[in-house]
């Protein structure tokens, strides 16, 4: 897979201390779920940030997707905690 630009929002951004980064995921990372699991294997603060994978949502190229949806070929993926400001 080519390089992937990640965007982080909300508490996820704050826990990680950055609003995004460029990564090079291994070939077995095919879905949002895979990506979150892979990031969660890193040292802190990633372990804490991705400690509850089911609470992390994703969007591919600006469109929200399900966690089992593919990120194959994506250039930009956003990851975020449950949204809602109301």
């Amino acid at each position: 897979m080519a390089f992937l630009d990640l965007l982080y929002f909300g508490s996820l951004r704050e826990t990680l201390g950055k609003d995004g980064e460029r990564v090079d995921p291994p070939s077995h990372v095919l879905t949002i779920e895979d990506l979150v699991a892979w990031l969660g294997e890193r040292d802190e603060p990633y372990r804490s940030a991705f400690g509850a994978p089911s609470r992390i949502g994703g969007a591919v190229e600006g469109e929200r997707v399900g966690n089992r949806d593919s990120i194959f070929g994506a250039r930009e993926v956003a990851l975020f905690p449950p949204p809602g400001a109301l």
């Binding site: 929002f9 905690p81 449950p82 400001a85």
Partner: protein, 134 residues
């Protein structure tokens, strides 16, 4: 007609309802979300990404339009720093059938609460803050 606005500034609910009234349908139903927070919260921060937020609101509006025969939909969501008592969001629809207007507006509000891609942090006077996540 679908009109989606994401903005830092305030909006005038009456003026927005008036735009829907001009469509000449039997019913206009509207909802205004206000900022409510605990006493120690001085303001909230509404975080968003322009493209993600706009796409999410567009999908919500399109889904609403598929489910009910509506003549118009207006969705407005504010971002940035807001104080208690300020307007936060607006959802309104126009329809020929009052039940469709009410149900469509209810659907929009529920979707705004759970699917609109905005994140809220409550900020206290002492500088502390907490993210409010469902």
């Amino acid at each position: 007609m679908i009109d989606i606005r994401i903005q830092a500034g305030d909006f005038d609910p009456g003026r927005q309802l008036g735009r829907l009234e001009e469509l000449g349908r039997a019913a206009v139903s509207g909802f205004v979300a206000m900022v409510e927070a605990a006493e120690d919260v001085t303001e909230i921060l509404v975080e968003h990404h322009p493209v993600l937020a706009k796409n999410a609101l567009r999908r919500i509006a399109e889904e609403t339009e598929r489910n009910w025969p509506l003549a118009g939909i207006i969705l407005i969501h504010r971002h940035g720093r807001l104080r208690r008592g300020e307007r936060l969001a607006f959802a309104a629809v126009a329809a020929s059938d009052p039940r469709h207007a009410l149900d469509g507006c209810c659907f929009l509000v529920d979707a705004l609460r759970s699917r609109a891609l905005f994140w809220r942090k409550e900020l206290a006077a002492d500088g502390s803050g907490r993210w409010m996540e469902p």
